[in-house]
Symmetry: C2
Subunit: 242 residues, 2 copies
Amino acid sequence: MSYDLFYWPTIQGRGEFVRLSLEEAGAAYRDLARESGKGAGVAALLQLLKDRKLERPPFAPPILRAGRLLIGQTANILQYLGSRHGLAPKQAAGQWWVQSLQLTIADFVDEVHDTHHPIAAGLYYEQQKQEAQRRSADFLKNRVPKFLGYFEHVLANNRRGERYLAGAKLTYADLSMFQIMAGLHYAFPRAMVKAGSKYRRLELLQARVQERPRIAAYLESARRIAFNRDGIFRHYPELDTQ
Amino acid sequence: MSYDLFYWPTIQGRGEFVRLSLEEAGAAYRDLARESGKGAGVAALLQLLKDRKLERPPFAPPILRAGRLLIGQTANILQYLGSRHGLAPKQAAGQWWVQSLQLTIADFVDEVHDTHHPIAAGLYYEQQKQEAQRRSADFLKNRVPKFLGYFEHVLANNRRGERYLAGAKLTYADLSMFQIMAGLHYAFPRAMVKAGSKYRRLELLQARVQERPRIAAYLESARRIAFNRDGIFRHYPELDTQ
């Protein structure tokens, strides 16, 4: 089956977590809003979001279409793809564990977004810059150590080795963790340099994922959108460690 | 099997979504941090959170212990309970749909929290009161209509009737939606009155859930913690519609 991904065409955003899993799975998919022609482009995404007749209308992108199924919410999509493409453990206990990791990553992503938009998603960064500086300072001082410290500890405690977050094999949570690390390095380079070897296992995980053949090919392709100031991870020097 | 819920004992918080599902299911459970004695109380919760030897350490409460399984993240716990206690559809497509609703509710809950804590979870409300007023104004003007408008539309479009969010039977998403409506009425009474009949279907859903025998009994019991200013839904008159 070929999938259709509906997501904003000019940012990585939350859609990138889905793209990474689709790429690692070697799945056939169309990144619909990035294509042109009939039934594609941003128009197709907007049409789906505005369709008042859908019985199960998605709230927001990313949305995955798999045959007749339309799935919303990033973590939900990843759970679905993970179970179909060997990116999740086979045992139920491992599946609940991986999904709890993914949901914690999702919480972290929300907090990353709010570093530059602490007041309102509908306002420009410039309209909430002061608040953003205050929130970012707290984020770097307290939240990054809490979240990354947690995931570093998860790697250290994995009885099957510290190559992956859960068990002995790659899961969608590892792909998402790669994206978190790449994003933090882009958005907060000075803070990440300053953290030094504190998150050594996570840095190694990032490298490990990045070197996987399909991921490496994806990252070098035109399919990978570059980080930019419209996405979740944004580089504003004034928000980074000074 | 009897469950153990690990959550802060003096607030509804995110744990309340789990409590509601456990109560509706008529499941045997211990709200561990609210009990006293050996292996109970806040000490038991803190011990679990500080246990550095756990292979699968949860990030934060609520945490559910089901036999040897320890499950973290509210939506994950609800998915687990839903599948075991008839609080989720039997078909896979319905299950993905309900979980996407629950995850959208979780996103909304995060935004409710940030109305009084837009800068830092670790600071007091009084230390971010100005920012809270700015964020709350946007929340009431833009975010509440977006989220509640969405769920109202979901009810209206349910082909099995507008009694529940998904299909013809109650799911954990309905229980969570009840909590959202109750919380909003507590925290933002003027804004909710002003909204009038805009969310009529959601108001009826709230009443419908509230009247279910097990939920009604729970709400009247000492097990239900009252809303207060330490939880997610907080009533600060200055943050409500003026």
